[in-house]
């Protein structure tokens, strides 16, 4: 008989080694995430996939499912914590959606819609993060970085280039480019790299194609992130 755990009271079957997040999504239950990607090992940094398993908070992306566990995810308590995490991500960077090319296709924005975030709630940091326009085909706008390391991982593990890295700690943490000058234009980064297409927010943007899709027809205008994610995981 297949093993199963309970997610918000619903039985979810899983195979040994499968994480809570993978098993849940496969069974059609939505658990949100920003830093998780099916092609990489779990990163566990965004914490949006947080669930309560056997009474403890764990990252669903990094925790293997266990037989008989009772897992809480879609509850007012957990969703409230997710809303708080999203609000902290918004005030930590400079997320000015009306002028962002990624608006409508941005996972951070779509998750904030999903959890009905109406206010940033906290004080804004308004950090100074200059953009890098040195590359002929790709723009880097660090204002929107959420430190998910997807570009770092894609560049290292798929492209074999290690163009990006995170440096600094805590509030000083930031994304850097692996070149003497620190400029993307001085690396072998290419617009066809996997890392050029993996950013969930609007940091890594192809030049010359902005605002090509009109408002009303963008990814998250026509589908919620919940329905899009579940469609992709089924």
């Amino acid at each position: 008989m297949t093993k199963q755990f309970l997610l918000d009271g619903q039985p979810v079957p899983f195979d040994d080694g499968q994480t809570i997040l993978e098993a849940a999504r496969k069974a059609g239950h939505y658990i949100p995430s920003l830093c998780w990607h099916k092609d990489f090992p779990p990163h566990g940094s965004c914490k949006l996939c947080v669930v309560k398993a056997a009474g403890r908070h764990v990252s669903a992306c990094a925790t293997p499912a266990k037989e008989g566990w009772e897992v809480e995810s879609n509850t007012p308590e957990i969703n409230g914590e997710r809303r708080g995490l999203l609000q902290m991500l918004f005030v930590e960077g400079n997320h000015f959606c009306p002028s962002c090319e990624k608006s409508g296709n941005c996972e951070l924005q779509a998750l904030a819609y999903e959890y009905e975030v109406l206010t940033p709630r906290f004080r804004h940091f308004f950090p100074d993060r200059p953009v890098d326009a040195s590359h002929p085909d790709v723009l880097l706008d660090f204002n929107r970085c959420i430190f998910c390391e997807l570009c770092v991982r894609a560049s290292r593990e798929i492209d074999g280039k290690s163009v990006f890295a995170l440096t600094g700690r805590g509030i000083g943490k930031h994304l850097v480019v692996n070149a003497e000058s620190g400029q993307l234009g001085d690396t072998d980064f290419s617009a066809t790299d996997a890392a050029a297409h993996i950013c969930p927010v609007g940091v890594i943007l192809p030049k010359g194609t902005g605002f090509a899709v009109p408002i009303g027809e963008r990814s998250f205008d026509v589908a919620t992130i919940r329905s899009k994610t579940l469609k992709e995981s089924s």
Binding site: F90, N94, H95, F96, C97, P98, S99, C100, S103, G104, Q109, A112, Y113, E116, L118, T119, P120, R121, R123, H124, F126, P127, D128, R129, I215, D221
Partner: protein, 183 residues
């Protein structure tokens, strides 16, 4: 005997560091305006040209806080309005005016009034009647307590109408689905 019609709710609106786009969007509720004036009356607002806000039920604030006058108006609204609402991106998170926040204020002013192409012998305006700019543009919740937020640049007419009708009917206002947008 007919019961007397309920008192109309008093509503004040203001645009601080905003572009009046949210007020324009408010007018985009079109024919609902006829329903609305049956339920509310306006206090201070660009629509009435009343200059000072009096005791109100609802205050709608467009725009962030970029100078000393904005702080004054916002505090006056908070004192007078039972329910204060941040209307639109700039009131909610600073929006476009807050894009100057990473540039030191003096540098900003010099760039505009002294060093801009075509400016000769320019100087930074210092008339005492001009409100002093703040070093950073702030969303209104960083200055006063705010009860509700309507994001969007601008929030659509239907979003504003949904929010106001919820509020006027005594329901918890809710923007979901297609009505919640940040752009």
């Amino acid at each position: 005997m007919n019961s007397p019609s309920p008192r109309k709710l008093r509503v004040a609106t203001a645009s601080l560091a905003g572009c009046f786009g949210c007020h324009m969007s408010f007018l985009d509720i079109d024919e609902h305006l006829f329903e609305l004036v049956e339920l509310i009356e306006f206090d201070r607002s660009p629509l009435t040209d009343i200059k000072d806000v009096g005791p109100c039920d609802i205050g709608l604030i467009e725009g962030g806080v970029c100078n000393a006058e904005n702080v004054h108006v916002l505090r006056e609204f908070r004192r007078n309005c039972k329910t204060l609402i941040a209307l639109g991106a700039c009131a909610v998170n600073g929006g476009l005016p807050a894009q100057r926040n990473h540039i030191p204020l003096a540098e900003c002013l010099r760039e505009v009034y002294q060093f801009r192409d075509g400016v000769a012998n320019g100087q930074i305006p210092n008339d005492p009647e001009l409100p002093l700019p703040l070093d950073k543009v702030r969303p209104i919740h960083e200055v006063v307590r705010v009860d509700y937020f309507i994001p969007g640049c601008p929030p659509s007419g239907p979003a504003i109408w949904k929010f106001l009708t919820d509020l006027l009917a005594g329901r918890t206002p809710r923007l979901s689905g297609g009505l919640l947008h940040y752009d």
